[in-house]
């Protein structure tokens, strides 16, 4: 399984990716939607984990662009907001919508579920 993690909170992205790697998941991480589009143009990813609120290209818009580049890619949204509206939009757009802080084992479970 190859995962692309996109979050503008740099420390969060770096540490979450290390924890996923320790659990046997192949992860690339970037901090912006623009970088994610470049990465997705160069590599094939099974799942993208996207922060919803990011400067520039936000998670929802990024998901639509990545879907165009890689139609089979699955998506998990992350958010620090967690409002009802965010949840409705996020759930309609992606397989899963998770609020920060995360439970790593739950994330692993979801990653295996969406790629099964």
């Amino acid at each position: 399984m190859k995962v692309l993690l996109v979050d503008d909170e740099k420390k969060f992205a770096m540490m979450l990716s290390k924890r996923l790697v320790l659990r046997g998941i192949d992860v690339d991480y970037v901090y912006t939607g623009e970088e994610a589009l470049v990465m997705a143009g160069n590599s094939r990813y099974d799942v993208a984990i996207l922060d919803v609120k990011m400067p520039g290209i936000g998670g929802i818009e990024l998901k639509r662009k990545l879907s165009g580049l890689a139609p089979g890619m699955k998506f998990i949204f992350l958010t620090g907001h967690g409002s009802e509206t965010d949840f409705e939009i996020g759930s309609a757009e992606a397989a899963y919508y998770l609020a920060k802080p995360l439970q790593i084992e739950k994330l692993i479970e979801i990653l295996h579920e969406v790629t099964a």
Binding site: L22, P55, G80
Partner: protein, 220 residues
Amino acid sequence: MNSAIEFQNNEDLVFFGKVNASISHELKNILAIISEAAGLLNDLTELASKGQDFKLEMMKTCSQDIIEEIQRGFGTIKQMNTFSHSVDDPLKRVNLIEVLGLMINLAGFLSFAGKVRFDPPEESAPIILTCPWRLQNLIYQSLVYAFESVGPDGEIQVSLHPQKNGSARITFSGLGTKSARTFPVDQTIQIAASINAEIGMTGDSHVLDILVPQLVESMR
């Protein structure tokens, strides 16, 4: 009840909600980093206890990140506290440099926030008697528009110019053309009028001015 006052009270609540939502987002991000750092520390100690290499440098980085994020959290909560207490007195003497600093920090939590250059005046800080809440709302709305106008990679400049009569001019310059809306709208102008302030774009639309009086005897 006077409809103008009722409307402004609603605007006040909208402002309170928006700022609090952005603070809670910031705090969640901080907790998420602390959670991942603590989790990674736990992962590394688990691995070491099973005989794998003790990754000391990575553990030190995690500990340092936790300390830094806790400090960031304390700073955020202090700002939240100052903001919350700004409703305590409808009229209060405030230091404009402090009010601007607080609003710049709080607006900085927005996901689309750009960079802000703020050069406080070299002379003593302007102290004015005003409604802190409404003034903050006015400054926050101006910053939000300024960020929209330049995009997340842009930079704006905020300046404070004390006037000879004791009033002060707050200037937002370097504005761009990326915002899809016009500003200030009637509601913003009404909020300014409620504290006898004036808000408007200068001729070229790249500079936004707020003129704040030294004294507000009563609030509309």
